[in-house]
């Protein structure tokens, strides 16, 4: 009897001891798990912070976000340099990037023809310059050239700006290398009729960079993904080649004039 009882007691004691040990182990594990969770969470946060910091550091130039972009004087439709009468019945908008080779090709075939249209009074030609090809040159030529056009437009008016724009395309740099230097752009601008003292500072300091960013944003938000893009009275002109684009543009102009 007593033997049996002592056996039961022993068993109970052992069980109690092992329960206590299990409780201690569980408590220990809980603490361990919590500290591991902390380490994991801290590591994840650290990875995210580092990536965000790198992203922040990599952003080229001052982002125009939240900054009021002051457009150049003489600008038309917020972002364009224009030739031809403001009350012309047809509006042709040419979206282009100074670094885009196809835009250079289109300029070669279309520049003269579009000027004639503008002079006839039937058409206002608007050049809406964007900069999304900064990666194609070693010195952000897209943005620098678009800014320079804004500077010439601001200080010397639309005729000089369009002439400067033509000169930039005539001297378009190859993809992958460096763009025209600030000095080269200033020389071309002076030839186009701008005043060297008035333009040198703003060209070097990228005065209109926020405006250039907004101009690029507006082009993208209008649903366009490439350059050159041409619209006639806000209708996009489809094309297969540069010659094609001019022919289809002329056709769209003639049709618009008939209506």
């Amino acid at each position: 009897m007593s033997k049996k009882q002592s056996k039961a007691t022993k068993q109970a004691n052992m069980q109690r001891a092992s329960e206590r040990a299990a409780a201690i182990r569980a408590e220990h594990e809980r603490k361990e798990r919590r500290s591991r969770a902390l380490v994991v969470a801290a590591s994840v946060v650290a990875v995210l912070l580092v990536v965000v910091a790198i992203a922040w550091g990599l952003q080229q130039g001052g982002s125009g976000e939240g900054q009021t972009s002051n457009p150049p004087d003489n600008v038309v439709d917020e972002y364009a340099l224009a030739i031809g009468a403001d009350d012309a019945p047809v509006t042709v908008t040419v979206y282009e990037d100074l670094m885009c080779p196809y835009c250079g090709l289109f300029e070669q075939v279309s520049s003269q023809r579009l000027k004639e249209y503008a002079e006839s009074g039937d058409v206002q030609v608007r050049y809406h310059v964007v900069s999304f090809l900064d990666g194609q040159s070693s010195d952000r030529y897209s943005t620098r050239a678009a800014n320079a056009i804004g500077v010439v437009l601001d200080t010397a008016g639309p005729e000089a700006a369009v002439e400067f724009h033509d000169a930039l395309f005539a001297n378009q740099p190859e993809e992958g290398g460096s763009g025209l230097s600030d000095e080269q752009m200033i020389d071309l601008a002076v030839e186009a009729g701008a005043d060297e003292e008035a333009i040198a500072g703003p060209i070097e300091d990228l005065k209109f960079e926020p405006w250039v960013e907004d101009a690029t944003d507006a082009w993208s938000k209008a649903g366009f993904t490439g350059t050159p893009t041409v619209t006639v009275n806000d209708e996009k002109v489809e094309f297969e080649s540069a010659e094609d684009l001019l022919a289809n543009t002329e056709q769209a102009i003639e049709e618009a004039l008939k209506n």
Binding site: E32, V51, L58, G135, K221
Partner: protein, 162 residues
């Protein structure tokens, strides 16, 4: 099995790091690339465009380190699925856009020739991600120290011969 998972982590994680890092220097371009798909409302396009490269590099780094492998593999699989759907839909709608997968984006005259290969690549990476969702315990992973209590993946898989 742990070796296959390790290789999958390096492959998928490596691709994410490269894809994200190429986009980080020009986040505005990333926003435009997202917009070019014409799938998302303009209200969310900038947020997605800015966040995507950061998220890509982050999950890439964590996959390579082997940190929270299952969670990151799920995110990775969801993203690849979204990309496959996006590219397929751009193709179906006749859009000619660069997928913007590794930076870039926007109009691309040769886009139609590239779509099938891009979809195949993303499906392969989707499969590798799903493998890691199924079997997140791999060799040389921080998870083995932090999440799985220091036990190696061999004992964790419960192989009775060990």
């Amino acid at each position: 099995m742990g070796w296959i998972g390790f290789a999958a982590r390096l492959l998928v994680g490596g691709v994410w790091i490269v894809a994200g890092a190429l986009k980080l220097p020009d986040l505005d371009a990333s926003v435009r690339a997202v917009r070019a798909y014409q799938l998302l409302p303009e209200a969310v396009v900038p947020a997605i465009g800015y966040a995507l490269p950061v998220v890509e590099v982050a999950i890439g780094v964590m996959l390579v380190l082997g940190l929270l492998v299952r969670f990151n593999a799920v995110v990775s699989a969801v993203l690849f699925l979204a990309f496959v759907v996006g590219i397929a839909s751009a193709w179906a709608r006749g859009l000619q856009i660069d997928c913007g997968c590794f930076g870039g984006g926007g109009y691309d005259a040769n886009a139609t020739e590239k779509y099938p290969w891009e979809i195949a690549r993303d499906l392969g990476l989707l499969f590798a991600s799903l493998w890691l969702v199924r079997r997140p315990r791999t060799r040389w992973a921080l998870d083995n120290r932090l999440v799985y209590d220091g036990t190696s993946e061999r004992t964790m898989t419960g192989d009775p011969t060990r």
